[in-house]
């Protein structure tokens, strides 16, 4: 792939200087991107009195996992975790299935008004009625303070449909023709023939959707006041702003919950913030590298073409 991998290269002094500079800059950039995450993690497992003073910088101090067991007992956090997991799972499943189906259907030239309906969907990427009118529609439909506000508006997503449609159009036509000969109807063709053959693009769509669902914050902010529907992101935002009082509450109840409390395990605003952040970011850190090659490929498909 790289233009430097073939042919004989002269390695002059200039080349070496270039390589050193190049590598250094990229190491610095990678460090800038990775260190903040590392910083959160080492602070969440270090002695709380040390981390509160900002003295944990390179290595964790007096490692303990007490923060996690205490923070998980904070008011509302288990519920928020359930809501976040549920919306991510259900929302992603719905979006993936709908994108797969619509992407497939829009590739069918025989469908009545295909061009029109495809544009009807795609154009919605370019305009929005605005916050207030959308809010009022949500309210009228009873979607405010309703779990389904996290799922229903995100079922049809133009971007995903485009990705799937492009993918389907690159698949051999004979696949469908053969199935039609055998008398399969369009729904059967979709489920039996196409869906199983779309795994790479569906993995791409799934990871995009899952990350968006997991990270979504704005919809809780706008449409939800019911505490039992708060998401982890929203709770994290509240925790950043209220960490002092939460630390107090954790200190007060700490005695009952975890036996002996020491300075190292007493909750501080810092320990609460860091620990909740790690809980929110950990799933992404673990899952995203596994899927990276899928979506890099998915994007290449689009980019090279455009």
């Amino acid at each position: 792939m790289s233009n430097t991998t073939f042919g004989v290269r002269r390695r002059g002094g200039g080349d070496i200087i270039f390589a050193i500079t190049n590598y250094s800059v990229f190491i610095a950039l990678a460090f800038l991107c990775a260190y903040p995450f590392y910083f959160l993690i080492i602070n969440s497992i270090s002695a709380n009195d040390v981390s509160a003073l900002g003295q944990v910088r390179w290595l964790p101090v007096d490692v303990h996992l007490e923060n996690y067991s205490q923070v998980l007992q904070l008011n509302g956090l288990p519920m928020a975790a359930i809501v976040s997991i549920a919306r991510t799972a259900i929302g992603t499943l719905a979006a993936v299935l709908a994108s797969a189906f619509l992407g497939f259907m829009f590739s069918q030239s025989k469908m009545w008004g295909r061009q029109f309906w495809y544009r009807f969907v795609i154009i919605t990427m370019y305009f929005s009625a605005g916050l207030i009118p959308v809010f009022i529609v949500m309210k009228t439909l009873g979607l405010t303070n309703n779990f389904w506000v996290y799922v229903v508006p995100f079922i049809v997503q133009p971007f995903f449909i485009i990705l799937v449609k492009t993918y389907v159009e690159a698949m051999p036509e004979s696949l469908q023709e053969a199935a039609e000969m055998d008398g399969a109807n369009i729904v059967q063709i979709f489920f039996r023939i196409f869906l199983p053959n779309m795994t790479p693009i569906l993995a791409t769509v799934a990871i995009f959707s899952a990350v968006a669902q997991w990270n979504s914050f704005q919809d809780t902010l706008i449409y939800v006041t019911d505490q039992s529907l708060y998401t982890l992101q929203y709770l994290l935002y509240m925790f950043i702003n209220q960490a002092n009082s939460l630390a107090q509450a954790a200190q007060n109840s700490g005695g009952n919950l975890s036996g002996i409390i020491t300075a190292a395990t007493t909750q501080t605003p810092t320990s609460i913030r860091m620990t909740v952040s790690v809980l929110v970011v950990l799933p992404i850190i673990f899952i995203y590298p596994l899927f990276q090659r899928f979506f890099v490929k998915g994007i290449m498909l689009g980019a090279v073409k455009g």
Binding site: S2, M125, P153
Partner: protein, 345 residues
């Protein structure tokens, strides 16, 4: 770094949306008149029955699109009323263009809107100015020979793209608040006696917002260019090398020109999105100190509409914003057609 307006909140990251648009461009181009004619003929042959049946399968989804994207447009009518949710539309007073007049007649309102527009445009232009960074990043990363190093850099630098703005703010807070890491380190080094206010200040807000945007989006933004570089015909490089071109000449005369079309499309689209910064980033970073300079249009609409309860005013501003954005998009599309001979929408 901008987000596209999505009627339903969780806008994808800007790179994603930009890719969409590119995709659309490619897809739309495919549908040449000839192909359309052919497909029409095919459709007639297949008989109307089946094609209507296929359409019926997608009807439920079209209803969803209508309800969440088209139907809210009806709500623009609120901008002509003094809308009070408790009274409903029929109980609210019809005020005509009062809200639009208010926008340009009251000096305080004009000053406020002026500041909001200034913030919006400044942050957008800084975003456009930094849009060249992912391109540079990709070109130089491509010069790295060790695949494991390239992959590691790519993985680590794209990570910030996948976290929420809330978490970005949390990171900013733990590093840059007055009791945060940076102030601690500077203090221990004896460089400062008073903590520096990185977050609770109205100074350099545009710049810091841009820098956070770059931090979050740089690695991810480079992916599309890396893909495009991988697609460049290798024989171009080979023949240039035979002619004795050095590394920088290859970049200048081959890589950069080859990437220009991709860059230009993305650039034009960011111009079309001048007014759409999204609100999440600015919402989490806003505080009593920086409110004046951080308030972009999207955040302003939220602040006066949801927090301040001026629903009609917020609708009016949101409406103007949407109309101007669509106009910008059409203009940019027209320019692209004139200049490059193909449309981007």
């Amino acid at each position: 770094m901008r987000e596209y307006p999505t009627s339903n909140g969780a806008a994808g990251d800007d790179m994603t949306s930009q890719l969409v648009l590119q995709e659309v461009a490619a897809t739309e181009l495919e549908e040449s008149p000839a192909a359309e004619k052919a497909s029409r003929k095919q459709r007639r042959q297949a008989g109307g029955r089946r094609s209507i049946g296929m359409f019926l399968c997608i009807v439920p989804f079209m209803v969803l699109v209508f309800v969440f994207s088209y139907f809210p447009l009806y709500g623009w009518i609120y901008s002509l009323f003094d809308y009070r949710p408790a009274l409903g539309l029929s109980g609210s007073e019809f005020v005509g263009l009062q809200w639009f007049e208010l926008l340009v007649s009251s000096p305080t309102q004009v000053a406020q809107i002026g500041q909001v527009l200034l913030n919006t445009l400044a942050i957008s232009f800084l975003g456009i100015a930094t849009s060249v960074l992912p391109l540079i990043f990709a070109i130089f990363l491509n010069e790295v020979r060790a695949p494991w190093f390239r992959n590691s850099v790519q993985t680590l630098t794209t990570l910030p793209n996948f976290i929420s703005w809330v978490l970005v703010y949390m990171i900013a807070f733990s590093l840059f608040s007055s009791s945060g890491l940076v102030n601690n380190v500077l203090n221990d080094a004896g460089l400062i006696t008073q903590p520096l206010k990185f977050l609770d200040t109205d100074q350099n807000v545009w710049l810091t917002m841009t820098l956070w945007g770059v931090w979050k989006g740089l690695g991810w933004g480079a992916i599309i260019y890396l893909a495009a570089i991988a697609g460049i015909d290798q024989s171009l490089y080979e023949s240039a090398k035979i002619d004795g071109a050095g590394r920088f000449q290859l970049m200048r005369y081959i890589t950069i020109p080859q990437l220009m079309p991709t860059y230009l499309v993305l650039l034009l689209l960011s111009v079309a999105n001048l007014l759409n910064n999204g609100m999440e980033q600015y919402f989490v970073f806003q505080n009593a100190f920086n409110k004046e300079t951080i308030q972009v249009l999207d955040l302003y609409v939220y602040n006066i509409g949801i927090t301040g309860n001026s629903l009609s005013m917020a609708t009016a501003i949101g409406m103007l914003k949407s109309v101007i954005s669509v106009a910008l998009l059409l203009t940019v599309n027209w320019i692209a057609k004139r200049v490059r001979g193909q449309s981007i929408v």
